[in-house]
Symmetry: C2
Subunit: 218 residues, 2 copies
Amino acid sequence: MEFPSKLISNAVEEFSRLPGIGEKTALRLVLHLLKQPNEEVKKFSDTIFNMRDQIKYCQTCHNISDSQICNICANPSRSKELVCVVENMRDVLAIENTQHYKGTFHVLGGVISPLDGIGPEKLKIASLLERIEQKGVKEIIMALSPTMEGDTTIFYISKKLADKPVKITTLARGVSFGGELQYVDEVTLARSIATRLPYENYLVKKEEREPKTSVEQK
Amino acid sequence: MEFPSKLISNAVEEFSRLPGIGEKTALRLVLHLLKQPNEEVKKFSDTIFNMRDQIKYCQTCHNISDSQICNICANPSRSKELVCVVENMRDVLAIENTQHYKGTFHVLGGVISPLDGIGPEKLKIASLLERIEQKGVKEIIMALSPTMEGDTTIFYISKKLADKPVKITTLARGVSFGGELQYVDEVTLARSIATRLPYENYLVKKEEREPKTSVEQK
């Protein structure tokens, strides 16, 4: 498309670089912003830039934060002995939304993926090992995506921790609540048969379950 | 959703205000921008603000422009006697993309829509009438959306021009090229039978067609 103004075509180009936004959507957004008052657009662009410019990461867990230590790490009622290892901030949000996790987090910043050029040195693995050694962490829950890359990362970290007195657990793998059995993929179904639970455990209320239950009975 | 940082939640809020962008998409865009280098995000926010701040509108046709008079109005090979009246810049782009229109434009900035509080005084109708009177416009093509609001606007303008020596035409209404007849709506189909064309006209190449053909034979 050829635009009547360089300003428009520059703005459309910037918007189209964002993921999932094509040229037509970008033009729609640009024309919407054009209709807004000048100060509204100023606020929009300032907010975006300030976000990138002033963002901080928690020195302990590497989650996004407004301060040097994030609210979760600074909260005395959250257990420092239980650390949940996740890929990114979105996973922290997802777990926080369950309101059932009382430990702290460690944000790796991704998973090991040689195809994308992401090796262990690009992730916050060294600081995780340091944290485990120095801060008396007793258990780490590997809450990574159930993919090849996620499993590779778990394997790598578990090797590094082989001689450390820390328990490593992973999220329980199995069929989802509310799903239909016929649509569950073969790997998940096969695994959930192999790691089947005694019915008493199934009945236990979520709140009462210990995070270690499923690991201990393997 | 509760975000770990005020900066993030502000940025997500700003993005969610854009049309068609919800909270989840906004968060995805924010996390994407967070991964970009600082100067890239600076460029993004500056481009958006400059666009809104420095944008100009052509004094003649009210299309978006980088200068006082837009490229189309300034082009001596474009007929000033033939003016195509459209709603907004997107319609100008669509007509320009056909590469078959050699006249100039007039951008109304919308259509009359009492339900949305848009009366004739909010559109660039006065300046269209002035332009027709002073600049020797011989024909205006009403290229508005084929909706109630579009038709109302055409009716309003045609009443205002009743005693002026200017020909008013509208885009031909009929079945689209490549469409299947069974899917054409009744109004369009009924109209396209009532305003049927002699087969010779149908055969005439687009380039050779006069814009007045379909009007004259009514």
